[in-house]
């Protein structure tokens, strides 16, 4: 049955890429490029374990899919095009400044 309540990574991740999420994800559903990560909704099992561990609150559950079509499409498209991140990476050099800018 299709994924109906997916989780997504938002722009808050851009220039941070803390990747604490991948340490807590039981199904390895995070994929990343050089700037940020994305969730593969086909693999995500909606447990939400990643949400509280993100230092910049970049992950949330999509409760109203119709209202967040763009972010869903972006996560789906990019996650399918990029490799899985299965181990925590060092944050980007810009992460500390970006975190301050985001107010966390």
């Amino acid at each position: 049955m299709p994924q109906i309540m997916p989780h997504v990574v938002t722009e808050n991740c851009r220039l941070c890429l803390f990747t604490d999420c991948v340490e807590h994800c039981p199904v390895q559903c995070f994929h990343a490029d050089d700037e940020r990560s994305y969730i593969d909704a086909d693999a995500c099992i909606d447990c939400g374990a990643c949400i509280p561990v993100c230092p910049v609150q970049a992950i949330h559950e999509v409760f109203e899919p119709d209202e967040e079509r763009e972010i869903l499409a972006l996560n789906a498209e990019r996650s399918h095009a990029l490799p899985v991140i299965s181990k925590k990476l060092p944050p980007l050099l810009s992460a500390a400044a970006r975190r301050v800018e985001l107010g966390f």
Binding site: M1, P2, I4, M5, H24, P26, V27, Q28, D42, A43, I45, D46, C47, G48, A49, P52, F63, S86
Partner: protein, 712 residues
């Protein structure tokens, strides 16, 4: 103006769900209110995360629909109309009704109905056993899940914990056989991924492309109910090609020659025809499994849910010994490690109170038992339901509802909510939820003993099951010391704390730390059957079972500790393939009227029916849907997203069609767990399932179900 500072505290707990993961909880309480439930980051299985089912668990405790007081029926049976009464009135009504029934029909006219709505030692599956054994009721055989597998497992390797699921991290070849792990054993999946990261191959055997199958290296789509044929076909290849570990077989197994003869009846061409799996794939699977040590099998309960389910579990459980997989850390089979926990059935269930000759009725037959189809003498005049919701979970729901509608049936239900079953009760009793009660949780998927401590007081007049049965015992005039035991005294007697498995572990330590690993060896070194040491009568892995001579049986834990009055019946000493009764092509007498085979696996966001009435979880799970192959949909003019009627001669329900290649032609898949009363027609999948039993352990045959699907 005063500045309010919230008083916050955390309390250690454990998950109550009927799930192998039994997660370690941390309850977060602010000003006396449960605000959040999180996973313990230090627990090696829980690892800080829970699952989608538990997302709103704190809020669930405050669901406004909870039953907070005893109530009596104030409308017709099934109307769901109730009015509040006192505990005194509830108990005196029960006493008066039961006394009359016992006087007129005898105590066996009363039957309990329980399952694993809560997994506690004191409040779970067996919470009412001692009371009902003392009362002299009919013994209820509780075989909704695992009984077929556990009989099969014990017949083959004995009551052993088998392979630790955490040891999967050390395997090089993992077969997940009939289990959607990422939905139903999520906290074991990281060990599978760890193995994969070290090069292991992950194979999933499942009739449809489940969430787990999509994550596998190789998904093998098998026809439902044909798993024994595949296992025997693999053995055929392994034996023919000399891939047997003859040294292990000679030292630690019994009946190899008989198994060899049986396997010879299953050449790959025949197995391919039975299972629908290409012959080359069967050969490849057998070769890879036998030559990639350590090889592990994660056995799913789904395998048992077909007429030959018991022998399928036996055949699969024979495989590791045949290739010597048990020699290695990470090799062997995971089924249910519950046998490592030294729980005392004698104390928990008090089978010594069962009167000689007491009859047994299987819970899956409750409908027929209540409607008179079983021609019982005495008839069932009262049923007491707790920890279970048979109108949703039992097969042939229509028959059961007809039984529960009987005006002369006195039904009592201890519940959290007015479920589809509870709405037929004459008396409703309010039950506590997990954060409000105290218990050692029974664990069937890992090797940690877990304590759940109450974090908040019970609301209204809710009581834990252990207290409920103390009250009932006093009401019925039982004056045994047993009913005066405190919770701690009772739990102290429920486990053998002096056993090696619990050495160094006490209730006080558990109160402090919440959980402890049993002393059974760590996952990176544990290889329980490297040198045999099976718990069977012969001490060997029994390809030819010595227990078969006793006939079909259900283990005592599923039947209130009772060992008499077993269903019996012939059991082949060597596992065989017993075909399904209803699936496609297997029943020429029942041709095309119901051409589709319906499977009903567990939901993703509910735990069976639990949380199926919680708004956020209903939104996550979505409405009742059915997966259908586009080719089957096209012939029926069914469009994607259209509502369809699913039916057979037993019943009907409606669902929204998902057209997908994740199911092959001829197969349809929906999930169990949606509350029938919240569905479009007041029914759900178990309106269509058959009230028959698998060949072992009286398991249900939920997967052996033919239906037709039509556009509405």
């Amino acid at each position: 103006m005063s500045v309010h500072s919230a008083e916050t505290k955390t309390v250690r707990g454990a998950c109550p769900q009927d799930c192998p993961d039994t997660c370690a909880f941390i309850y977060h309480v602010e000003d006396g209110k449960l605000v959040e439930v999180t996973g313990d980051p230090a627990h090696p299985m829980t690892r800080g995360g829970l699952c989608v089912k538990l997302k709103d668990f704190a809020e669930h405790h405050y669901n406004p629909d909870r039953i907070l007081y005893p109530m009596k029926r104030a409308g017709s049976k099934g109307s769901g109309k109730y009015e509040r009464i006192s505990w005194d009135e509830a108990l005196s009504t029960i006493k008066s009704k039961w006394t009359d029934i016992i006087d007129q029909y005898g105590s066996q006219a009363i039957m309990p109905h329980a399952y694993l709505g809560n997994q506690g030692t004191a409040n779970g599956l067996t919470a009412g056993d001692a009371f009902f054994n003392r009362l002299g009721s009919t013994v209820a055989e509780k075989t909704y899940c695992e009984s077929g597998s556990s009989t099969a497992w014990v017949m083959t390797v004995g009551p052993t914990g088998g392979l630790d699921v955490e040891s999967l991290a050390y395997a090089k070849y993992i077969i997940v056989w009939g289990m959607n792990m990422v939905s139903t054993n999520l906290h074991a999946w990281p060990f599978v991924l760890e193995a994969k990261s070290k090069g292991a191959k992950i194979v999933v055997i499942d009739p449809f492309k489940s969430r787990t199958a999509k994550q596998a290296d190789w998904h093998i789509a098998i026809k439902p109910g044909t798993d024994a044929a595949l296992a025997l076909g693999m053995m055929n290849v392994i034996i023919q090609e000399g891939l047997v570990d003859y040294d292990y077989v000679e030292k630690y197994t019994l009946g190899f020659e008989d198994l060899k003869t049986r396997a010879a009846e299953f050449p790959v061409e025949r197995v391919s025809e039975i299972t629908g799996i290409p012959a080359a794939d069967i050969v490849k699977l057998a070769r890879e499994y036998a030559t990639t040590p350590p090889a592990a099998i994660r056995e799913g309960v789904a395998v048992e849910r077909s007429p030959g389910g018991g022998d399928a579990v036996r055949a699969i459980t024979c495989l590791p010994a045949l290739i010597g997989a048990w020699r290695h850390v990470g090799g062997g089979a995971v089924e249910m490690p519950i046998y490592e926990f030294p729980m005392s059935v004698a104390h928990v269930s008090r089978p010594d109170w069962i009167r000689p000759g007491t009859r047994v009725i299987n819970e899956l037959d409750l409908g027929a038992a209540l409607t008179g189809k079983m021609k019982l003498d005495p008839p069932i005049k009262s049923v007491f339901v707790y920890n279970s919701n048979p109108v949703s979970q039992a097969p042939d729901a229509g028959e059961l509802v007809r039984g529960l509608q009987r005006e002369d049936l006195f039904t009592v239900c201890s519940e959290l909510f007015i479920t589809d079953t509870a709405k037929y009760a004459d008396i409703l009793l309010p039950s506590t939820m997990q954060a409000e009660q105290y218990d050692i949780m029974v664990t069937w998927g890992h090797l940690y003993i877990m304590l759940n401590q109450p974090a908040i007081p019970a609301p209204g007049e809710c009581v834990a099951n252990i207290d409920l049965f103390r009250r009932l015992a006093k009401t019925m005039g039982f004056n045994d010391d047993y009913w005066d035991l405190t919770d701690d005294e009772w739990l102290s007697l429920a486990y053998d704390w002096k056993s090696p498995a619990l050495e160094g572990i006490t209730l006080d330590i558990l109160k402090q730390d919440g959980w402890k690993r049993l002393n059974v060896g760590m996952p990176d070194v544990r290889a329980p059957h490297a040198e045999g040491n099976f718990k069977t009568p012969s001490g060997k892995c029994e390809f030819k079972s010595s227990m078969a001579e006793g006939g079909n049986m259900v283990l005592d834990v599923w039947r209130s500790g009772y060992t008499e009055m077993q269903v019996g019946g012939y059991v082949d000493p060597v596992p065989n393939y017993i075909p399904p009764a209803e699936v496609i092509d297997s029943s020429p007498t029942k041709p095309a009227r119901f051409p589709l085979n319906l499977l009903s696996p567990k939901p993703h966001a509910f735990l069976n029916t639990q949380y199926g009435n919680e708004a956020s979880q209903m939104k996550r799970q979505g409405e009742q849907r059915i997966m259908i192959n586009p080719s089957d949909a096209a012939g029926r003019s069914i469009a994607n997203g259209a509502y369809v009627r699913v039916f057979n001669e037993r019943g009907t329900f409606e669902a929204k069609a998902d057209l997908t290649d994740d199911v092959g032609a001829g197969l349809v898949v929906t999930n169990v767990g949606h509350w029938p009363g919240l569905n479009r027609t007041g029914t759900a999948v178990n309106s269509t399932t058959a009230p028959r039993h698998a060949n072992l352990g009286q398991a249900g045959v939920y997967s052996d179900n033919r239906v037709e699907v039509e556009r509405i």
